[in-house]
Symmetry: C2
Subunit: 232 residues, 2 copies
Amino acid sequence: MADHRSVPEPTLRRLPCYIHVLKKVEQLGRQSVSTSDISRELKLDPTQVRKDLSYTGIVGKPRVGYPLKDLIEAIEHFLGWDECTHACLVGVGHLGKALLGYNRFGEYGVRIVAAFDVDEAVVGARISDHIVYHIDALPEIAQRFNIEMGILTTPASAARGASQNMVEAGIKAIWNFAPTALELGADIIVENAQLYATLAVLSRQMRGRVQAQPKPSPLRITPGAEQMGPEP
Amino acid sequence: MADHRSVPEPTLRRLPCYIHVLKKVEQLGRQSVSTSDISRELKLDPTQVRKDLSYTGIVGKPRVGYPLKDLIEAIEHFLGWDECTHACLVGVGHLGKALLGYNRFGEYGVRIVAAFDVDEAVVGARISDHIVYHIDALPEIAQRFNIEMGILTTPASAARGASQNMVEAGIKAIWNFAPTALELGADIIVENAQLYATLAVLSRQMRGRVQAQPKPSPLRITPGAEQMGPEP
DNA sequence: ATCATATCGAGTAATAAATCTCGATTTTTG
DNA sequence: CAAAAATCGAGATTTATTACTCGATATGAT
Ligand SMILES: NC(=O)c1ccc[n+]([C@@H]2O[C@H](COP(=O)([O-])OP(=O)(O)OC[C@H]3O[C@@H](n4cnc5c(N)ncnc54)[C@H](O)[C@@H]3O)[C@@H](O)[C@H]2O)c1
Ligand SMILES: NC(=O)c1ccc[n+]([C@@H]2O[C@H](COP(=O)([O-])OP(=O)(O)OC[C@H]3O[C@@H](n4cnc5c(N)ncnc54)[C@H](O)[C@@H]3O)[C@@H](O)[C@H]2O)c1
């Protein structure tokens, strides 16, 4: 239905979860699926699932649900995951190697066609079938392979410099795994992987579960000042 | 101020970003920081930053901002990151190895004290100074090392089984990197790392930039092609 | 000492998202 | 063939989150 700019971000974030559920259901041999099925699996409200799915333009049948294959395709198409985006990865360290070894990005519309680093120890190596080039080769290779997306997995200290390199090489979208906000032009799309966001939620819940009361913490600035104006 | 369950999740997700900015500012030698500084760096509204920070109980000074050191400590304490949580990692594959090689989890209140797998090829190995045990040893070792958190990095197909193992070993919180919803008791805290959520947002923005119009998609229901009831 | 300025913090308004309600539709059952 | 059950989809309502406003206050300049 609505194909324009007005898709809630929470919806976008849930769509991959739907795909994962749907593919699992598909392996069971089912032909169709209802929002009740999906919501049961993901513990969401059925009408929310319905509203989310409606953004993709899919139409369901009362009493039956949605045709499974069409629904998966609709979501994938909506996200652009039915088309292949050429990506490069910059920073072949621990995390970079893990991403290079992940052989399912194709399902998510991404194909890593080159990797880059500055460390002579990895430059020239083959990591999970990907050649690691020196970062200086980025502009040329980016153009040659028509690279649209950059996956940034350098240390935080190198992230801004590396992102600059990407932009200079003509890359328009960056998936940033470094815990740093990038400083780039408004025409560059940046999305931070935010690994720690989920850890923060988890940690907070753990602490909250154990000791749910407000405790007299040692982090007060002016001792004794609860909600009055702080004394000098 | 409010130390109870009433912290908005968006706030929790932003707190780690603040920590990252603050630590960078700290390295510059600054003693204090204002919400204007933070909001400029992260492109957020200053009053939103202020409201987020207020949950940690920190108090700032007009015209000056917040004492940097205290602020970092306040956020870390609020998240429980000033205390060490013992964790184990289950599934020593590409991603698991990357996480084992990450030597900064201490800053996030997590210490990986053991790793587990079923594959004889990795069981017994040392990965970045972590010993890999067979999953069968999980109950004993979890108890011995007082493991509270499980980091789940198995393939999706093994995720539910492995999470079951964790729970049986007494683990109460799971950081789940597998793209599967886990089916566990309500007393178990689960947080899904959701790697693909950010990719979905990125992909959608990329496609939206290129072709913003709604197009007649081929995803309509073919009448009569359906069968299969809703119940499996 | 007084004034200008930046910033905090609380309260309020506006916006966004989740949830609820209900009529319509399709399939299965009696 | 009629009734019952399940589910869709649109719209209304509620709740959550973000953005705005403003008085108070600390600092540095005049
Ligand atoms: N490893 C993890 O599990 C993990 C977890 C959370 C976050 N992260 C984040 O991901 C990023 C990478 O982490 P890591 O553990 O893989 O680090 P790492 O040190 O193992 O790897 C970083 C790689 O980047 C390369 N590099 C440095 N500067 C570069 C430059 N200017 N251009 C190109 N390459 C450059 C280094 O040579 C190295 O190979 C970090 O920002 C880290 O905070 C990693
Ligand atoms: N590698 C990535 O970059 C990446 C990216 C996104 C998501 N993921 C997700 O992370 C998970 C791990 O990915 P990966 O690439 O590391 O996979 P992988 O196949 O490299 O590693 C999985 C590991 O889990 C082990 N394992 C299997 N069953 C087990 C069980 N029952 N108990 C304990 N260990 C078991 C395997 O032996 C293997 O070592 C997957 O669910 C994947 O979807 C990975």
